[in-house]
């Protein structure tokens, strides 16, 4: 077989497509001839790291992905988890790191657009979004520009689309100077009997293109996202897609209307590698061939080549296989929403992926092999070196009040209000907890009591120091944040951001983190139902901190029993549930050490998963019984920061007296895991609290009474009293001051 090919395939051209010589040889062996230029592009799109998971697949397979509530695990556009009453929550997190660094507004906006599309492709109406953002050092010259562009880009897209942003993370570290992370999460609600999948069924059925027209934006985007950055970064701007949330909003409404007509057999959004990936996926999953006629593809630029059309990452496009008898009805829906609707091909029974253009066949490839035969590597890896514990007496000293004020007004803890006020956090009218608490919570629309909680967590400092413990901690922290609202943690999505996997030490980080994540997910019954891997997050050979972001979802049976972080009243007992005997001790990798003393040595705090689970289940029970009046899990900055955040959220002070005679610094700033601050409305001398302590004791949980709420100051042991107003001023001050360039 010969196909017309004007462009000679040279080794350089192959390399420019991100294909290694052995990978190209595999292509030659598979098809028995030299590929056409278009075919080379198709292989490059399907076999890059971003689409094929070739470095991570072996390890991803080890993650727990099933559970009694899991309807759909990884492999579809998003994971699906049963929430009862015939409904399910559909969710996923995905990175848009490289594009956001090159062009922050469009990069971040289209990241949001892509993840929303993943959710509504499955038939779900998006109900919540989050984003986990990691930028370079605050004093790096590009950081302000990137923060303002990314935040505006996410807001510009999500606000116009109409989904509330209910949570997220923003962190700064010099290790992201040349490679920021933008991880976008979306969740939607769907009826369990109306879930749509990408698997095509039936031969000779129309393959229909829907949505926006195809342009040249984003050509080669997925390949770009699978390469490291060099100094030629600005030249890559044309590979970033341009978003149009107005079209996406119409596409959402049109797709949901179309799905309701019963016309849709299979649906796949055009994300990374656009038309190529979506068509191949639909065909390969259904054991069918696909024939595309590019002359029928709606285009918005003239003289587009088949190569460009197949690799364009123009946004807001969908591919569907429709029941032919419903085509007219389907077309009417799209005409109403003024979106393109074009039959661009058909399903076939020959398992070939055939692309026609101007009467020529420009690609004819074995469709299953494009996915199934994608290279899969067992890359060499070395276990990350473990660091030794800090010496017992190695505690740099600082006045407790000064340290707390410095941390509250620092870049790590400072309020993210500047960011989240640019997001619509209350559209749809179901937001019960907006950003600023432990997790975002929304009502399940139409249900009298149910609500969903969402959180996004990872501590890259911990992961750098010990990827395995860091991976465990990220899962535990997400589970803990959901628990702190009173939710039952349901399942999670993971967004694994790492450097170049061809370096054994980076591969070792990935392997270690996945092992930790898997172990924690099993111990906490918290399966991973969707996810995304972003590798090659490096610039000029310098990798990012290993950042396996965990997006967690939980279910509250009754939101009237939900807990918040704000102290509820004065004169309430504060318990430190899950406390070690000494309240806190682990300072290595804490922000006290990093941000106040520039110390980055030592291991991260270990997570005892069995203790984690017992403690969380106990806290959730206290919430459901109405005993807990406010709950906050402890994380960055330990006990002192946790108390300060609860005080700031309420305007009520607290006095903590139960601190052992030992050095107060590890007790107040240690980041020991599995701890919650819980205020209760019980008499501290009464029988009920004794019963509570007896129960905790039987569960081997330590829950000391460490102090009481009240007054307008936060009093930490012997430290000077700090007015809550001063804490609040420090907390609210950092971000706006920084962004104003002051």
């Amino acid at each position: 077989m010969t196909l017309p090919n004007d462009i000679v395939i040279t080794p350089q051209l192959v390399a420019d497509h991100g294909l290694k010589p052995d990978e190209y040889q595999k292509i030659l062996d598979l098809i028995g001839r030299t590929p056409t230029y278009t075919e080379l592009g198709i292989f490059s799109a399907m076999w890059n790291e971003h689409c094929s998971y070739k470095s991570s697949k072996k390890w991803l397979k080890t993650l727990p992905t099933t559970g009694p509530r899991v309807i759909q695990g990884p492999g579809e556009n998003a994971g699906v988890v049963d929430i009862g009453d015939g409904q399910a929550v559909v969710f996923k997190m995905e990175s848009h790191n490289h594009p956001s660094f090159i062009e922050p507004y469009q990069g971040a906006g289209t990241g949001m657009g892509g993840i929303l599309r993943d959710v509504f492709t499955m038939g779900a109406r998006p109900v919540a979004a989050m984003n986990a953002l990691r930028f370079g050092a605050p004093d790096h010259e590009k950081t302000r520009h990137l923060v303002s562009g990314v935040v505006a880009g996410i807001g510009g897209y999500a606000n116009a689309f109409g989904v509330p942003t209910v949570g997220g993370e923003v962190e700064f570290d010099a290790r992201y100077n040349g490679n920021i992370l933008v991880n976008a999460f979306a969740a939607g609600l769907v009826d369990t009997d109306k879930i749509f999948l990408s698997e095509a069924k039936g031969v000779g059925l129309p393959v229909v293109y829907l949505g926006a027209k195809t342009g040249r934006d984003g050509v080669g985007g997925a390949t770009m996202a699978s390469a490291e950055f060099g100094d030629d970064i600005d030249e890559k701007r044309p590979t970033v897609q341009v978003g149009d949330p107005f079209t996406e909003k119409r596409l959402l409404e049109a797709c949901l209307e179309l799905m309701a007509t019963g016309a849709v057999i299979a649906i796949q959004d055009m994300g990374a590698a656009g038309l190529t990936c979506s068509a191949v996926e639909m065909g390969a999953k259904g054991d069918l061939g696909i024939e595309l006629n590019l002359d029928m593809v709606p285009v918005r630029e003239t003289a587009m080549t088949p190569y460009e059309m197949m690799l364009s990452e123009s946004q807001e496009r969908m591919l569907m296989v429709l029941h032919p008898e419903k085509e007219a009805e389907a077309r009417a829906v799209f005409v109403k929403w003024e979106l393109d609707f074009a039959t661009v091909g058909k399903t076939t029974d020959d398992l070939r992926f055939r692309v026609l253009w101007h009467g020529d066949e420009v690609a004819n490839l074995p469709i299953k092999d494009l996915g199934d035969e994608a290279p899969e590597y067992d890359r060499p890896w070395v276990e990350s070196k473990k660091s030794s514990m800090l010496a017992e007496n190695d505690v740099p000293q600082m006045d407790v009040a000064d340290a707390l004020l410095a941390l509250m007004g620092g870049h790590q803890i400072g309020s993210r209000r500047w960011v989240y006020e640019q997001y619509d956090t209350l559209i749809q009218g179901n937001s019960l907890q907006r950003p600023g608490g432990d997790a975002g919570v929304i009502r399940v629309d139409g249900h009298p009591t149910k609500a969903l909680a969402f959180t996004s967590d990872v501590n890259p400092r911990y992961c750098e120091a010990d990827p395995y413990e860091g991976g465990k901690q990220a899962v535990a922290e997400a589970w803990r944040n959901l628990t702190a609202t009173g939710a039952d943690p349901l399942a999670a999505t993971d967004n694994l951001n790492f450097g170049n996997p061809e370096r054994p030490e980076i591969m070792g980080q990935l392997v270690g983190a996945i092992k930790g994540i898997g172990e924690a997910c099993i111990a906490l019954d918290f399966p991973i139902v969707s996810g995304n891997v972003s590798l090659y997050n490096e610039t000029n050979g310098k990798g990012i901190l290993p950042t396996p972001t965990i997006g967690g979802v939980g279910l509250l049976p009754d939101w009237s029993q939900m807990a918040r972080i704000a102290f509820a009243a004065e004169g309430q007992v504060i318990l430190l549930v899950g406390s070690p005997a000494n309240r806190g001790s682990h300072l290595a990798q804490s922000i006290y050490m990093r941000d106040l003393f520039d110390r980055k040595d030592g291991p991260p705090p270990p997570v005892d998963l069995a203790h984690e689970r017992r403690t969380g289940d106990f806290v959730r029970k206290l919430i459901r019984l109405g005993i807990a009046t406010a709950v906050h899990d402890l994380s960055d900055g330990g006990l002192a920061v946790g108390l300060a955040e609860m005080a700031i959220a309420s305007g009520i002070g607290a006095t903590v007296t139960d601190i052992t005679t030992a050095d107060p610094i590890p007790q107040f700033f240690g980041e020991d895991q599995g701890r919650y601050l819980v205020t209760i409305n019980l008499d501290p001398q009464g029988e009920e609290i004794t019963a509570l302590w007896d129960e905790a004791k039987s569960l081997r949980i330590h829950a000391p009474w460490i102090g009481s709420t009240g007054g307008t100051d936060l009093v930490l042991g012997d430290a000077r009293a700090i007015p809550v107003a001063a804490l609040k001023a420090a907390h609210e001050g950092w971000f706006p001051t920084y962004m104003a360039g002051e």
Partner: protein, 222 residues
């Protein structure tokens, strides 16, 4: 009272508005697609918030030139009450049903937060659920809510009781002139406001201060 919610492509608080009207009145409003031939016979027409036509050209400019706006103008002239919230306010201004302009927020950023509103004129069909001078909580979520008009128009609005709501206690989120948050037409049957009372109507929203606007309206004709 019968009400209708108008939907243009790109609006996204239509569902919030429909929910609020339904919960408060007990009856679902008619939902009218902008291309529908008929505008039902109703007592209240609501244009909800969002990003009609993607806010392209100018916020509300394209929707304001949609044929359905002529029908709404005719109804307004006949005394039917018309409420525009956020993008709906922008559309009413672009359509000439209300005076002035809504410019980009002074911060140049989208802003979503809770503000305080003073009920500047409680003697209208829209505001009689409140007391004159009452300060209420209300959320805002917009990018272009910076109200502006020439001094003559402002003087007329102020003198004629056409300022319905004013941002209070230093919470003006967008730099609008005279802290104006919502205005009425001369006849006071058309109200446009940037804040979202429909998002503060039940305990789940953390407050019910927005409720009186709808309950006051809906009780009048019922």
């Amino acid at each position: 009272m019968k009400s209708a919610v108008i939907v243009f492509p790109g609006l996204n608080r239509d569902r919030d508005m429909i929910a609020a009207l339904t919960k408060i009145s007990g009856t679902a409003p008619a939902v009218v697609w902008h291309q529908d031939a008929d505008l039902p016979d109703v007592d209240l027409i609501v244009i909800p918030g969002g990003f009609s036509y993607g806010d392209y050209l100018r916020c509300g400019a394209i929707a304001a030139r949609s044929p359905i706006m002529d029908k709404i103008r005719t109804r307004a002239d006949a005394g039917v009450k018309v409420l525009g919230v956020c993008n709906g306010f922008q559309i009413l201004i672009e359509a000439g049903l209300l005076p002035g302009a809504l410019m980009r927020n002074m911060s140049l950023k989208f802003v979503c937060r809770e503000v305080k509103l003073e009920v500047t004129n409680a003697a209208t069909d829209f505001t009689r659920g409140y007391a004159q001078g009452q300060v209420i909580r209300c959320p805002v979520a917009h990018h272009d809510g910076n109200y502006f008009a020439d001094s003559e128009t402002i003087a007329r609005l102020e003198g004629n009781g056409q300022v319905a709501f004013r941002y209070a206690e230093g919470t003006n989120p967008n730099g609008s002139i005279n802290d104006i948050a919502g205005i009425l037409n001369d006849r006071k049957n058309v109200l446009g406001l940037m804040p979202h009372p429909e998002n503060l109507i039940e305990s789940a929203h953390g407050g019910t201060d927005g409720r009186a606007l709808f309950s006051g309206l809906l009780q009048q004709v019922a």
